[in-house]
Amino acid sequence: MTMETATSPRSSRVHPRPWLAAYPAFFRISMLSNIQYRVAGAIWMIGMILEPLIYLTVWTTVADSQGGAVGGFTKGEFAAYYAFLLLVNHLTFTWVMHEFQYRVQYGSFSFALLRPVHPIHEDIAMNIAFKIVQLAVILPGILVLCVAFRPTFEPVGWSLALFVPVLALGFLIRFLFEWTLAMAAFWTTRVNALNQMYFSLQMFLSGRVAPIALLPLWVSDVAQHLPFYYAIGFPVEVALGRLSPEEAIKGVLLQLAWLAIMGAIIALVWKNAARRFTAVGS
């Protein structure tokens, strides 16, 4: 790929999608800085790995006391569930909600707004680069979990194939969701309480605390209509092959619906947020 400068004679040939053209550059920069901060990243990952490990332990203990299985999950199936959850949670998580506060506070948004590319693209590219680098930590984590807890996993061909697009959709849903909430930082400096509320809801409704089939009936009913589940729990269950084809298709349709809703909200809120940011002038 050749880079063109503004002075080049062919500079009138602008890339049809400038934001797409920017991805490789964002990607490369982020890769480099992630490798730079690999220690910090690796340590952050410990928390990432520990959480599913804790809940897996809890549910294994429960399954033990209930004669080996609970809520349709055997010990081995719990282990498989949390192994995939670890992967999915890692691949879909974002840090934008923490990051926005700093950006607004220290005015680094000013630079982002000056670029002719919507800032969300840089975030997405950086996020993906980070994920790839950190897989080096996550995969051994999954391995440890597998050795310690011996998952039972019988792959279902079509379901496993569907996992990849479902995961991608899940990533986008979670990304857009959290990016939208992160914009709250433009209106208030106290976003922590909001973040905390989001995380608490997410813990229960996404399947992180427990597979949602184990939640009390009405809670799992609610969860099946909210985006939390479609970002995390749903991809995990697709990978495990626990869903019937009908359930899977219904799930994908709901994913698409949530993606559309999130996209619309972001477009709406971002305009106001950017205006507000320039008005405050920080």
Binding site: V39, A40, I43, W44, I46, G47, L50, E51, L53, I54, T57, V58, W59, T61, V62, S65, Q66, V70, G71, A148, R190, N192, A193, Q196, M197, S200, M203, F204, V209, A210, L214, L215, P216
Partner: protein, 262 residues
């Protein structure tokens, strides 16, 4: 000791003054802690909708554990964590020089220098949950249990504090150790469940390497008087050892800072 209390008093007052301008923070903090608590209790509720006992712990005992978890968490976040965080920043900025020129013990000053008063919310809510758990289950908590609980909590506090001092002291050698603190917090979340349910390697890590078992699980067990004399002996031994070791290590750190060993 009198000195320490007076210092804590003045730093508390200063913390209160600093935060008083942001009174809304208290409400926010209460809200955040409340949410954390609801999450923790909600999780217990879900677990116990599927079983009656978790590794020998009933729902009320586990709720009591959550209460203790929040009390200890609040205690760390109230003084120890912010103070030592500031200490590490001071090492980087060189402001630690000022601490050393004060006629009071530098470790004491560094451990108390910042009080985030609104973190009291964690302690208060933790006590509420603990009390509610005791009342609901109509556990018989008489003097022996209360004393055992307080003793276990005191020993656990010494252990956690010493552990933090050791972590913070590393800042004399390695400037950037915030990452280590991250590990501590990540491991600490494991303390919301009885340490006994974890696989052996994790159990030992949580007992010896990052001593959360003694800070949370053991005091929670003491509430229902289930702690054996051996455990108390072990906790006391560890507390004594860590207290002495952390003090010695801190001195080494100061020696290094002032270039005595170089």
């Amino acid at each position: 000791m009198v000195r320490a209390i007076r210092l804590l008093g003045v730093f508390l007052r200063i913390g209160l003054l600093g935060e008083a301008q942001y009174r809304a923070n208290f409400v926010i903090q209460l809200l955040e802690t409340g949410l954390g608590l609801v999450t923790a209790l909600g999780t217990i509720w879900i677990v116990f909708s599927q079983t009656d006992t978790l590794g020998g712990w009933g729902p009320a005992e586990l709720a009591a554990l959550v209460g203790v978890y929040f009390i200890v968490y609040g205690g760390i976040q109230l003084v120890v964590a912010p103070s030592l965080q500031k200490f590490m920043e001071d090492i980087v900025s060189g402001n630690f020089d000022y601490t050393l020129t004060k006629p009071a013990d530098a470790q004491l000053l560094s451990s108390l220098s910042e009080v985030r008063v609104w973190r009291v919310a964690d302690v208060v809510l933790g006590i509420c949950v603990l009390t509610a758990a005791i009342i609901r289950e109509s556990m018989t908590v008489g003097w022996p249990q209360t004393l055992q609980f307080l003793l276990a909590l005191a020993l656990g506090s010494v252990i956690v504090y010493s552990f933090w001092i050791i972590l913070a002291t590393l800042a004399f050698w390695f400037i950037r150790i915030d990452n280590l603190l991250q590990i501590f917090w990540a491991m600490y979340t494991a303390g919301r469940w009885p340490v006994g349910i974890y696989p052996e390697w994790l159990k030992w890590t949580l007992t010896v390497v990052v001593p959360i078992a003694f800070a949370v699980t053991v005091p929670a067990e003491a509430v229902s008087g289930r702690v054996s004399g051996m455990t108390f002996l072990g906790a006391a031994a560890l507390a004594l050892f860590l207290a002495l070791f952390s003090r010695w290590f801190w001195r080494q750190g100061i020696r290094r800072y002032s270039g005595a060993s170089a």
